[in-house]
Each structure stands twice: as C-alpha cells, then as structure tokens.
C-alpha cells in the first residue's frame, strides 16, 4: 500500500462516527499505539475495526528515545504486536526524553544539544530499531529552551542523530516553524542542507501564541496557519517524493467535518506543491 497525500490523526471524539462510515474519508490515519494496546471494551473494538478496515501509520509518544529508562519487555512486545497487526510501513517517535529514574512526565522534553546526548540518542534509536519489525523514523520536536550549554545548534544535533542512527526522518514542519519563531531563524535556511532524502513522512499542525511567555506553543490545538502550509509546499518539491503528510489535532478538537475540511485544504496545497514533481 502506498502512503501519500494528507492523512488525519484518529482521535477519540471521532471514533464512533468514523467506525460507522463505509470507507475511510482520508488516505490514511495515524494512531499512537500507547493509546490502544493492552485494552479492551467497546471503544477498543471500534478502534481495532477502523484499523483493520483503513490504512494506518503508527506514531509513538512515550518511548523517551533520549532517556535512560529501559523499555519494559511487555511494552515492547505489545508495540511489536500492534505494528504487525496494523501493517504500518514504519513507526515513529520523537527525538526527546520523557522519563528519568523511572518517573514519567508524559511531556516531550528537549535533549541537550551535545555530542554526548547525540551519541546516547543514536544508541537508543539503534537499540529500538533492532527490536521493531518495521523501519524507524525520528521526529524533530518543538523546543522552548536549550537544555544546558549547547555544543551545537538544534539543527546540527538533529542532523548528527539522524545520520548516526541511519534512520528515517519524520519531518514535523510545524515544529520547524515554531522553533524558527521562538529561536529566531529562517526555516527555509534551516531546511536547506538537511537530509531530505531521509524524510518518509511529515507532520503538520496548528500552534498557539502564549502571550505571558512570548512564545509559540506547539499545542496541536488550532488550525494550521498559512505560513506553515506554505513551508510544507516549499519543502515537498525539495523532498521530491509524495511523502504522506499527517494533520495532527490533539486539543480543542473540532467536529470531524471541520477537520476533514482542513485536510482538504492541505491536500490541495499538497497536490499543488507536487504538481511539477509528480508529472515530471
């Protein structure tokens, strides 16, 4: 199955409505295994029915790729079984850490931009990749402050980890934009020279301006703004392949019809950006 076009994150408020449809209203869904595995009941059966019917990509939230805590065997077993069951062509996680000393924060915390941290993340990515039945992608995150004294830029840190781990890249274009505003750089310059050949998927989402801190927050709680759509359209031809783009919405979740309309808007921009590439 070829994954392309703009998909949507499958979210709880829409489950019953989506399950009742005859066919998927999107090219593919994305779902977090952590929110599904090890559960049962009516809602769980609805989700599993959708995943059996429709194309799905998986995206993890809590493996703490830059952390030190070991992955419990049962957590890995459940993840592997889920990836096999869904038939996802790859699995992705964030370049961040979320737990330390056995305490989980359930937040995507930034890595220090240091060589030690890069070596550590590379080793963790390789270790997880070795256990998964599908290729692994690493996602660039939004960060609001560098952790400790940086030895390199966030861009060079990401580059070093992607190359060192030799893994795919889930390019979150909204995170690039949010970071560019919060840390004052040109996102197109940031993207130029990055290993776009590693991009297998993209994320796109909305963000929120946090007045008190004077910062853009990666909330996934608002519609995607035009500059982020433009950035997606700018980078797609440079990637040169119709990689799938996933619209994320995790807060202030509107009706499914509203999200589907937003997806259509993004799909048009996606197709427009790739017209020359696809017909070349």
């Amino acid at each position: 199955m070829a994954f392309t076009g703009v998909g949507l994150g499958l979210r709880r408020p829409h489950m019953e409505q989506v399950a009742a449809l005859d066919a998927a209203p999107v090219p593919f869904w994305e779902i977090a295994p952590e929110n599904v595995v090890g559960q049962g009941g009516t809602r769980h059966r609805l989700v599993m029915g959708i995943l059996e019917r429709d194309a799905v990509l998986t995206h993890g939230l809590s493996m703490s790729m830059g952390g030190f805590d070991a992955w419990a065997p049962e957590v890995l077993d459940r993840l592997v079984a889920f990836l096999k069951a869904t038939g996802t062509p790859w699995h992705s996680e964030h370049l961040c850490w979320s737990s330390f000393g056995g305490a989980h924060t359930h937040e995507l915390l930034p890595m220090p931009f240091t060589r030690e941290a890069a070596r550590h993340a590379i080793a963790r990515v390789k270790a997880l990749q070795a256990k998964l039945p599908v290729p692994f992608l690493l996602e660039n995150i939004s960060y609001y402050a560098a952790l400790g004294q940086p030895e390199m830029s966030e861009r060079d840190f990401l580059l070093e980890v992607l190359e060192g781990a030799d893994c795919g890249w889930l390019l979150d274009i909204n995170n690039v934009y949010v970071n560019s505003v919060n840390h004052g750089f040109d996102p197109k310059v940031w993207l130029t020279g990055m290993p776009l050949h590693r991009v297998a998927q993209m994320h796109i989402a909305g963000h929120t301006w946090q007045e008190a801190e004077g910062v853009l927050l990666d909330t996934h709680g608002a519609p995607v703004v035009d500059p982020v759509v433009d950035l997606m359209a700018w980078v797609l031809p440079r990637i040169g392949r119709p990689v799938p783009v996933l619209l994320e919405r995790d807060h202030e979740i509107p009706d499914l019809a509203v999200l589907l309309a937003e997806r259509e808007r993004l799909q048009s921009a996606y197709e427009g950006a790739l017209t020359g590439v696809l017909h070349a």
């Binding site: 049962g40 915390l109 240091t114 941290a117 609001y144 400790g148």
Partner: protein
C-alpha cells in the same frame, strides 16, 4: 547523583518540573543548579531561560494533572472545597509515582500513591476508597477482552463455581462511595458491597450486593464450590441461584464450571 552530564541535566529538569517547591529554582538558579551537580555553564543556561523552564514546569504538571480531573471529579471537588487539591497534586507529583509509558495509567498511579502515602486519610478516612471507586469505571471499561472459556455452563449448581467476567470487580468498601457526588462528595460511613461490570453492550454498570452474595462471589473466585459456600454462609441456594442467573444475564458472570 547521576554520573553523566546528560543524566544530571535530565535529573535536574525532573526536579524542576515535579518538585513541589518550584520557587527554589527561580529564587537562585545558580545555587539550585550547583546542588544538582550541574556544570556552571549548564546552570547558567538554565538560569538564562528560567521563564521557558517555568513553561516546561507548567506543561509537565498539566500533562500529569489533566487525567486526575477527568477520572476523579468527586475527589477533586472534595479537596478543592477544602483548598487542599493543590497540596494533594503537589505531593503526588513530587512522589514521582507515574512510571508507566501509558497515559491511561496516570489515574491508577494516583490511587496507588494514595494507598502508599496515606495522604489525607487522617482528615478524610474515605479518601482512598472514594478515589479507588472513581477509577474503577475506566478500569472496567478498558479491561482487555479475552475469549470466553469454552467449558462454562449456563446454569449454577452446588458443585460448580461462578466465573466472573474478567472485567468485573467484586468490591467491598467501608464507606458508601457509590452515593457520593460532586454536589455531596463525602460518602457516608456505611459498608458497601459493589459489583462493577460491563453489561452485554459494553456499558459500565454498578450493582449493590448483599454481604452474602459478595462473599459468595469472592469464595467462587477462590475456587470454593457454590454448595459448600452457601452452606457456610447460611444462604438459601434457590434464591442465590436465581440471583447468579441474573448476574450472568447482565454480563457480570461469564458462566459456571466445576470447582
């Protein structure tokens, strides 16, 4: 203290976000960083962006507290009415009890923490039982499905045991937690025997049991046949069997099998 620079930085951020005293960092970031073994430059970098690390503190705490409000509305109301909810949350977060990578496990971690720490039990002796009861609904609703055993009988008999549905919970409380509401969050001190289960459509249901029926189900779960259990409890088999058939019809009992 962690050996590597990376580990020391992550440990420091955990302190910064989960410790109850969030002011210590902001009051003197350099001294705060020194006590955590951070290099001077790393401590200075944290101090330079103290506003942004305050933001991370809010993000982490919000992520961990949101499931509590969703799962424990009555407990939260009770403690908010007594202006004790922030202190409860602070103590819970500082305990670092949340260890599971599954977000759904935050609420059970809160119950486990109440049980271990005895937080608030002196003032609210029912607190743990109330929180436990509030968490049961999600536990029952989300319990993993399992194939129904093939060897079960539809009818109870003296030599058989009753097999509870794996999602069902046969619970005994010292307080009538099932009558507590957001409007009246303090449950009366009265024993309650509750059977929480999924009905055939998968919805959450609560049945109030007599102590005898609750004991009968508990003995079945321990493997004692219904006949001897009823005899020891001094209960009428016909009456008990009628009730057990009803529980099976409701989905709380899967069926019956030889002891």
């Amino acid at each position: 203290m962690p050996e590597s620079r990376l580990a020391r930085l992550q440990a420091a951020v955990l302190d910064l976000t989960l410790d109850a005293d969030g002011e210590a960092f902001h009051a003197d970031p350099a001294a705060w960083a020194q006590t955590r073994g951070l290099a001077h430059a790393d401590g200075r970098a944290l101090a330079d962006r103290r506003d942004r690390w305050g933001l991370y503190r809010d993000l982490v705490r919000t992520a961990l507290v949101e499931p509590l409000g969703d799962t424990f509305p009555i407990t939260q109301t009770l403690l908010e009415d007594a202006s004790a909810w922030p202190a409860c949350v602070d103590a819970f977060l500082a305990s670092r009890t949340v260890s599971s990578p599954y977000y759904r496990d935050v609420a059970p971690a809160f119950v486990a923490w109440l049980a271990d720490s005895h937080w608030g039990l002196e003032r609210w002796p029912f607190l743990l039982q109330l929180a436990h009861y509030e968490a049961v609904e999600l536990e029952v609703l989300r319990h993993p499905d399992a194939p129904r055993p093939a060897d079960l009988h539809a009818e109870p008999a003296c030599e058989r045991i009753a097999v509870l549905d794996p999602a069902a919970r046969n619970l005994a409380y010292g307080f009538a937690v099932q009558v507590a509401t957001v409007e009246a969050p303090e449950p009366p001190a009265a024993c309650a025997w509750l059977l929480c289960h999924r009905d055939p459509e998968g919805a959450f249901r609560v049945l109030e049991l007599t102590p005898h029926v609750s004991a009968l189900l508990a003995r079945s779960q321990e493997g004692q046949a219904l006949g001897p259990a009823l005899a020891e409890l001094g209960a009428d088999p016909d009456e008990a069997f009628t009730l057990l058939r009803d529980l099976r019809r409701r989905g709380a009992i899967q069926g019956f099998r030889p002891a």
